[in-house]
């Protein structure tokens, strides 16, 4: 395995050089070959431009043949779960992305049962993974667990609606929540600033959203600055746009209005780029948190339960949180997607995507 780089072993300058510092490169190559899996769930009321956003996020068309039902049909419908998978490749790195859509959420007059379907889907994925992990043949475990949930908040309200609060409270211990303010082109700058106070509301209700990890001290300044900027922009207010519009002599992705053009990828117009950067550079961290925190949570509860309910969930979570904190100080050796962070970071500036569409998993 290490035959390919004989030169790196014999380094005349450092006599005590063994060469295991090479390990990350090997891991890197292996993981690149294996490819990555990521599952993203989008939740929000209809008409918040979720599908447009997803399409523009990954520069694909995930929903080519979409039929939007009328209001009378919506009365009868319950929340559905639709998963579509896309394989994206960039510079040799393969990403198998699954987007889980939840049409019907928030449509009904009585939304009490809205989130039951979604929660059972998340639990099902955890269950399946647990089952595979405990099985005899563990070579090809497919990870369909939901790594991240984009929760779309309507820009039309004055903040969080009761449904938003109830839903987030129900899933914040199962999945990483990233709150996103949809259709941000409705908002003037002042209104956008005001909506950032959603963070206060989230804190008030003790909802745990995904927190970006602070940049480590050995990272370069740019990265630290970027992380700081990203942290300050939560919740991200986005505009999804898939149409190419001619503006100021060049073609941009945007929305054309009689009073101007909203550019999807202009950081002054909205936080789309920031959200995309965050997602890409922290993909690995999101997976890690899902594995270490949410999945472990589920697992311990499940194994303990085996039939009866567990009362002191909270104690478990606190314990796990403490353990995770302790682990952070040690180098992360057990995770195979180590250092992929760097590759993704380098790629975040210019995107070349070539995609192959695959259908429902």
């Amino acid at each position: 395995m290490s035959k390919q780089q004989p030169t790196q072993f014999i380094n005349p300058e450092t006599p005590g050089y063994v060469g295991f510092a090479n390990l990350p490169n090997q891991v890197h190559r292996k993981s690149v070959k294996k490819g990555f899996e990521f599952t993203l769930m989008v939740v929000g009321e209809s008409g918040l431009a979720k599908s447009t956003f997803i399409n523009s996020l990954f520069l694909t068309d995930l929903y080519p043949e979409r039929i939007i039902p009328g209001a009378a049909e919506k009365i009868e419908r319950t929340v559905q779960i639709e998963a579509s998978t896309v394989e994206i490749e960039e510079r040799g790195v393969k990403l198998r992305l699954t987007v889980v859509d939840t049409p019907g959420y928030g449509d009904a007059i009585n939304c009490r049962d809205c989130f039951k379907t979604i929660i059972s889907y998340i639990d099902e994925q955890f269950e399946r993974y647990l089952h595979d992990e405990s099985g005899l043949n563990r070579r090809h475990i497919i990870d369909n667990r939901v790594h991240c949930c984009f929760y779309f908040i309507s820009p039309f309200g004055h903040g969080l609606k009761p449904l938003d609060v109830a839903f987030m409270k129900a899933i914040h211990n199962k999945v990483n929540i990233v709150p996103v303010i949809a259709k941000a082109d409705t908002l003037t700058l002042k209104e956008r600033e005001r909506l950032k106070r959603i963070l206060d509301e989230i804190e008030e209700h003790n909802i745990k959203i995904y927190h970006l990890p602070d940049a480590e001290s050995d990272e370069d300044e740019d990265f630290k600055e970027q992380t700081r900027l990203l942290k300050a922009s939560i919740p991200f207010s986005v505009v999804g746009s898939n149409q190419l519009i001619e503006a100021k002599g060049k073609k941009v992705r945007g929305r054309l209005y009689p009073w101007g053009v909203v550019e999807g990828e202009n950081p002054e117009h909205n936080d789309f780029l920031k959200l995309r950067t965050m997602l890409i550079t922290h993909m690995q961290d999101l997976q890690e948190v899902t594995q270490d925190l949410h999945y472990e949570n589920f697992r311990s509860e499940r194994l303990k339960r085996g039939g009866r309910k567990v009362e002191n969930e909270d104690m478990n979570k606190d314990q796990i949180l403490l353990e995770k904190e302790a682990e952070k100080t040690l180098p992360d050796t057990k995770n195979t997607t180590f250092r992929m962070k760097n590759t993704f970071r380098m790629n975040s500036e210019n995107y070349l995507f070539s995609t192959k569409l695959g259908n429902n998993v």
Binding site: G70, C114, H158, P162, T186, T188, L189
Partner: protein, 358 residues
């Protein structure tokens, strides 16, 4: 000869009106008209001027209700419509101003004056509508309020000693705010309009229309119109109440092309091309509220205030109120509720004294 006259006290005339959901009110027979050529100028047309003077002196009432989820810009729109701060906005981020648990009805009255004409405007707000997790029957408090106003008016009307001018608190117009999802109506919108289009004039309005591009807007409007039609929702101006051909063609045009109006509201002014205009300032341009290329606010304003204001009041009085009244009187077996009974014998009006005293 006395057939059809309103003073007839036979119960049968009243009960015949009931069975259909919308009974036509009893109208007196049209007098036979003889066209006679005037031989000179009499001055009959001055009645219009007399009416105008009277209206200016007495002023008039107008009650407008706004219904829609919180944050759709209802208060801002009403302020923009009447160019004054008639509605207190809930956009101030007070901790105490949480979303109410049930639908509340808040009526705020103002007197505004323009060109010597006084209008007593009442804006009825409905905070809490559609904001809960469970919104079943959230239109009931609204329906109840509307019927209560009809009841109040009815009570005044059947009083023996009536006031010269009965205060009119009936809801003349209900602006229903549709959320600009771009897809279709929401189930709640349909349910609300189905229930309330029979008791009040509903004008559907697409809120915050600056979310949509021009194509999205026209597609959405078409879809909404079709959905309303398919579900049999009669919004104002209702087809069945068009009085003559002129009205019909005008209203048809509005119904089929302009409605529902896609509006943007704002109470802030900005400088555009040297003029001060009401608008919204965004990093990519200024959205002018009164510019027809940007949104249809001007159309809504003209429709509600400049052309159809009186008609809104008339339809409320002649159709919706009469429906309520007929139902109410019929429920009571022809007798109205409370004091002031129509069924009793009126005391004889003292006759003018004859020359020969009796």
């Amino acid at each position: 000869m006395s057939k059809g006259l309103p003073e007839t006290r036979t119960d049968t005339a009243m009960s015949e009106l009931v069975p259909e959901p919308r009974p036509k009110p009893a109208v007196p027979m049209k007098p036979v008209s003889i066209n006679s050529n005037l031989l000179g100028y009499i001055g009959i047309d001055t009645i219009i001027e007399q009416m105008r003077k009277k209206t200016m002196k007495t002023g008039f009432d107008f009650n407008i209700m706004v219904v829609g989820q919180s944050g759709l810009g209802k208060s801002t729109l009403v302020n923009t419509l009447f160019k004054s701060q008639v509605s207190r906005k809930a956009s101030s981020w007070n901790r105490e101003e949480k979303i109410p648990k049930t639908v509340e009805i808040k009526a705020i009255g103002h007197v505004i004056e323009e060109g010597g004409v006084k209008m007593k405007l009442t804006v009825i707000d409905t905070p809490g509508f559609g904001d809960q997790i469970n919104n079943e029957n959230c239109w009931e408090p609204i329906e109840k309020y509307i019927n209560e106003q009809y009841e109040k008016f009815l009570k005044e009307e059947v009083n023996i000693a009536r006031k010269k001018r009965i205060p009119d608190t009936r809801v003349h117009c209900c602006l229903y705010f549709i959320s600009p999802t771009g897809h279709s109506l929401r189930p709640l919108d349909l349910e609300f309009m189905k229930h309330l289009s029979k008791v009040v004039n509903i004008i559907p309005v697409i809120a915050k229309a600056d979310t949509m591009t021009l194509e999205e807007k026209s597609e959405f409007k078409q879809r909404v119109r079709k959905e309303l039609e398919v579900n049999g929702i009669e919004f104002y101006p209702q087809k069945e109440f068009d009085e003559d051909l002129e009205d019909k063609t005008e209203n048809d045009k509005i119904r089929q092309e302009s409605m529902p109006f896609a509006v943007v509201g704002s109470d802030k002014e900005y400088q555009v091309n040297g003029k001060r205009v009401l608008g919204r300032k965004t990093p990519w341009g200024i959205i002018e509220v009164e510019n027809l290329n940007h949104c249809e606010f001007a159309l809504l304003r003209d429709f509600v205030i400049r052309t159809h204001l009186q008609d809104l009041k008339e339809v409320t009085h002649n159709i919706h109120y009469e429906t309520y009244r007929a139902k109410r009187l019929n429920d009571n077996g022809g007798l109205p509720p409370g004091e002031g009974l129509l069924g009793t014998v009126l005391p004889p009006v003292p006759a003018t004294p004859c020359p020969t005293a009796e």
